[in-house]
Symmetry: C2
Subunit: 424 residues, 2 copies
């Protein structure tokens, strides 16, 4: 007997027919003797419709045009998950499985007051544990909780993943199964590299890098939470037939387990290659090379709430000026330029160049920590294909390079092959 949390996204519950399919997955686990909690998203399309209503409602053409209270947004939008949780409970009951729905405020899942993108402060698992112990499936409306003033609070887009991991942590679940439209985490994007392999296991830290770098399988926040709370999280496909889905030699169905690195017996040096096109490169040419300039540049950007990622600073030949290159999220490119133009009174006149036609490609692997030469291998392989590297950042478990967007596929395929990730 295990205690399991199953999470299903909007596509998996898009219609009552699909909710029936979800219920069959739940039934399989119950019949296997497990205690089950299910976390559900809104039926796909519903959240967008509700958000559309909110935006329309806020557009009054009057005094406070466009303004709205995030608490009201939350009350409107959280209704989507409320509906799905009730419907899944009803389908399970109709199958003869005891079930009951839980709204965020009923658990309760306590959040902070950042309505619209609230963070989970506390989740009391008692009601859920009692329900599950009595043989009833707990069906939880994801994405939502209750804020400090007793109002409904949503966790922001993709918050249902975070709900599921938080529930799993609170009830001490053996595993949190995230059912999604892919059957696991791959060594890289299979649309670019057909030889990409599904990983059987990946460490939390690695998944965090993969998630934040564009492998959109799991929300970054949910992986962070899973890592902190050590929640074993299993990514699997909701399209597998619930009854006939097979298992491998270890009794596991197809999917990827995100777990502590201790659980991964044979670690690879490199686990995967990720890429992100959501970057823009900004270069400041011939900035005065004197103390305080970098602080002025990045201080101004920080004040404007613009995240800066990769930073490269070169001294020019004459020694009196320098070039500073860095990346910002592509959506912030224009805003960053304005901020920097405004900051020229402090940093002095400079030529500002920017381009969103770049991509960040990353090599990720916990094994890097104990292996030298991993970065050198990447640089050499890219050079061999004539790909110019604009900037580099590294951490203990990843190497990222910024290159021209035109080389994305070539770079990813090359690195995937160099580190032996291609399918056997």
């Amino acid at each position: 007997m295990a205690r399991l949390v199953l999470k299903f996204g909007g596509t998996s519950v898009a219609t009552v027919e699909r909710i029936r399919n979800v219920a069959r997955h739940v039934a399989r686990e119950v019949k296997a003797g497990h205690q089950v909690a299910v976390v559900v998203s809104a039926m796909s399309g519903v959240t967008n419709t509700l958000v559309g209503y909110v935006n329309d409602a806020a557009t009054s053409g009057m005094a406070m045009d466009g303004f709205y209270d995030q608490m009201e947004y939350d009350a409107v939008v959280a209704s989507g998950e409320q509906v799905t949780s009730g419907l899944l409970a009803i389908v399970l009951q109709a199958m003869g499985l005891p079930a009951r729905s839980f709204q965020g405020w009923q658990i309760p899942l306590i959040t902070d007051d950042a309505h619209g993108a609230a963070r989970i402060l506390d989740l009391d698992g008692k009601a859920l544990i009692d329900t599950m112990a009595s043989g009833t499936v707990a069906v939880i409306a994801g994405f939502q909780g209750i804020g400090p003033t007793g109002r409904i609070a949503t966790l922001g887009r993709g918050g249902s993943d975070t709900s599921a991991v938080a529930v799993a942590a609170a009830i001490g679940a053996d595993r949190c199964d995230i059912y999604t439209d892919v059957d696991g985490v791959y060594t890289t994007d299979p649309r670019i590299v057909p030889k990409a392999r599904r990983l059987e296991k990946i460490a939390f830290e690695e998944m965090l890098e993969m998630a934040s770098l564009g492998a959109k399988v799991l929300q970054v926040r949910s992986v962070e939470l899973a890592m902190v709370k050590k929640v074993r999280t299993f990514v699997r496909s909701s399209f597998d037939d619930p009854e006939t889905v097979g298992v491998d030699a270890h009794g596991n169905p197809p999917g990827t387990l995100i777990c502590d690195e201790d659980e991964i017996v044979e670690t690879q040096v490199v686990t995967g290659i990720a890429y992100s096109k959501d970057e823009a490169q900004i270069s400041l040419r011939r900035v005065a090379d004197k103390p305080g300039v970098a602080a002025a540049v990045f201080g101004a950007l920080a004040e404007a709430n613009i995240n800066v990622d990769m930073i490269v600073q070169n001294t020019t030949a004459d020694g009196s000026t320098t070039d500073i290159t860095f990346t910002v999220p592509a959506v912030d490119e224009g805003r960053a330029r304005s901020v920097l133009e405004g900051a020229q009174t402090v940093i002095g006149p400079t030529l500002i160049e920017s381009s969103a036609d770049v991509v960040k490609v990353s090599v990720i692997g916990i094994g890097m920590r104990s292996h030298a030469g991993v970065a050198a291998e990447a640089f050499k392989a890219l050079a061999g294909k004539g790909i110019n590297i604009r900037a580099i950042t590294t951490s203990e478990i990843k190497i990222s390079v910024l290159i021209d967007a035109a080389y994305t596929e070539l770079a990813v395929r090359t690195l995937h092959s160099v580190y032996g990730l291609d399918k056997h």
Copy 2:
């Protein structure tokens, strides 16, 4: 300064554009210096969609086919009002009016455990009063509360009217305005009698008779509650232009005030004529005329939960048998026949006749209590038109006759004219 409750039904909030129109009604009252609470239904069509999902979800083709937990039904269906309450709050805010939404569980509006058709046990007005006193419009999701186990409970179809009256009672409102698709309560159905007049005022007791007899302006339960709690309830049109709606010599906009009879200065003998086609007549011919037969007949019907309304018993010429005629709701006609056929072992063999081709026409007026001859006048007028009366029931303030459905319009017009209700 008055404290007002405004209630808007599904048609009035069917789109964000119509919700804006509702907000303009609210704004007018706020600008007039009133403290305002608003009760809203689900956007029209939404409740039906959600109920459709529930029925679909309950149809599993498996063990418990068709069964579902009313608590889950409530969680699903109550989401409709949740959405509207949030949207109206947002529209009001966009207009520059402070507003916040209240779900049933947030007020809290406490109900019994009859999920799906719960009754209100308690409504704590404190949070609403505090909100309104601070100059904020309280926007309340109608139709719902919280049951004894902390689950969402809905009040049954049309429950938003009841929510509004309950809120008005709890906060000591000066008036509860029910905005609907008609501009008040008429002396009779204007589709049948073009000369029907809108009543300026009607007593609770009269409205109760009008409502239960087919004038579908207000839910019966809400009128009962208004009578018990003495909530002055004003029925008015949501289609009036919010800013230009005129007022009469007494400063009242077009509509009908449902109030205590003490507030009605000049009571009429007859206030209105109502009719109901939802009746079926059942006759038992040549039943043995002995003690216990009537008890057996009506006992069997009561056990089957069939409401019996008008009862007439005549002794036949021979004195040994009797004819019993009564009415039941038209939907129960077939079921009633089956029950009575089964009861023949007790009541003896009898000829059972039934017909749904009948109508109950009622003359209603508090003034009747102090006027003799009102019934005689009705009988005479109907006889003058050759209309045969099949059954009669009377109460202190109403006379009902059962007639052939074909004479509905003629009977209603005749009675409307006889009692001087035609427009001047």
